[in-house]
């Protein structure tokens, strides 16, 4: 019934176009944070090397990386599945023995939030063997180690795999169950140790230097468990 163009029943008063768009922008910001399950905009204190970021995005097939380095998402219809994908880059600390490296991943779960891991894998870049006479295959092992422990001690073998290292390439290690147990335990820091050495020489690339395109990363497809539906079922 209001003579103004705004819809009175929505509580949106009539206002100048600029003011209206400023208000809409603020509402959009709140809406985006809420939908992305964030309390506030993330404070980016250190950036992931651009090369590593582009590599991970290419591996995810999330979209096409344009020549200028920006990402164009595939023109597909997004699903209404509440699941999402996470790519976490490792903080690397070299082991004293020089055989491998300790990879640290940080995860933060909201209290009361339960995450189901649908699929997860660790991506490692292995260089080709320098000696062409050597066997082109190499054994790689991934261990779960206790946080705060000295590298090489108190660790559990998660997976071992034969890698073909005739050419330098990326290799994946499925770690779905390991990640699920880690998240169910309410921990924050996942520490993995990777050993892929040949005659004491580590063929896996663990360069923690800036602009490294070969920084190891972890990919996980997860979704939030809907505990409310469980509660309703239990009640029924």
């Amino acid at each position: 019934g209001s003579p103004s163009p705004g819809c009175a029943s929505c509580g949106l008063p009539s206002m100048e176009r600029d003011a209206e768009e400023r208000l809409m922008t603020e509402i959009a910001k709140q809406q985006i944070l809420e939908k992305l399950h964030l309390k506030e905009r993330p404070n980016i204190t250190h950036t992931v090397p651009r090369a590593a970021l582009l590599t991970a995005l290419r591996k995810l097939h999330s979209g096409r990386v344009r020549q200028d380095g920006t990402l164009e998402l595939q023109n597909e219809i997004p699903t209404r599945d509440p699941g999402y994908e996470i790519v976490s880059f490792a903080d690397i600390s070299k082991m004293d023995s020089g055989e491998g490296a300790s990879l640290n991943f940080q995860f933060q779960q909201e209290r009361g939030q339960s995450i189901q891991v649908l699929e997860s894998s660790l991506w490692i870049y292995a260089r080709s063997s320098e000696d062409p006479r050597r066997d082109s295959r190499l054994f790689a092992r991934v261990f779960l180690s206790a946080v705060g422990e000295v590298s090489g001690s108190n660790r559990t073998l998660v997976i071992e795999k034969m890698l073909e290292v005739q050419d330098s390439n990326w290799h994946t290690f499925p770690i779905t169950r390991t990640l699920q147990s880690f998240l169910d335990g309410g921990q924050r820091r996942l520490q993995l140790e990777v050993s892929c050495d040949e005659d004491g020489k580590n063929l896996c690339s663990f360069d923690d230097t800036a602009n490294s395109a070969h920084q190891p990363f972890l990919v996980a497809k997860v979704r939030l468990r809907d505990d409310r539906s469980k509660h309703v079922l239990r009640k029924r």
Binding site: C10, K35, P78
Partner: protein, 114 residues
């Protein structure tokens, strides 16, 4: 759904693009560069609120008929989104992990009167 012109009177969809660079959010949102949020604005006068294409639902048309006939006149009709579309987003979270998420109901496709 009607698209709003410069002067808004009847319920319509106003095109509104948010560019993340303009709000300094481009450092944590990797893709897309922005999105068409759009929103609904305008009045839903009694003679239009139940019209095909403007009414948000069959239920809205029925209620509009009740109002026109002087029954249940206390209800008011409002211009709201009737169709929305999800948006794929890739962003850094607070742990500096990259997250790809399909966010539902982000883009308003059309508007109508309740």
């Amino acid at each position: 759904s009607l698209r709003c012109g410069n002067v808004v009177s009847v319920c319509c969809k106003r095109e509104f693009y948010i560019k993340f660079k303009d709000i300094q959010w481009d450092e944590w949102i990797i893709a897309p560069e922005g999105y068409h949020m759009n929103y609904c604005i305008g009045q839903c006068p009694q003679h239009l609120a139940g019209s095909p294409g403007i009414a948000s639902s069959f239920h809205a048309t029925v209620f509009s008929q009740l109002k026109i006939n002087g029954i249940n006149t206390a209800t008011t009709s409002c211009c709201v989104p009737t169709e929305r579309r999800p948006l794929s987003m890739v962003f850094f979270d607070s742990q500096h992990s990259i997250v790809k998420m399909d966010v539902p109901d982000m883009i308003v496709e059309s508007c109508g009167c309740t």
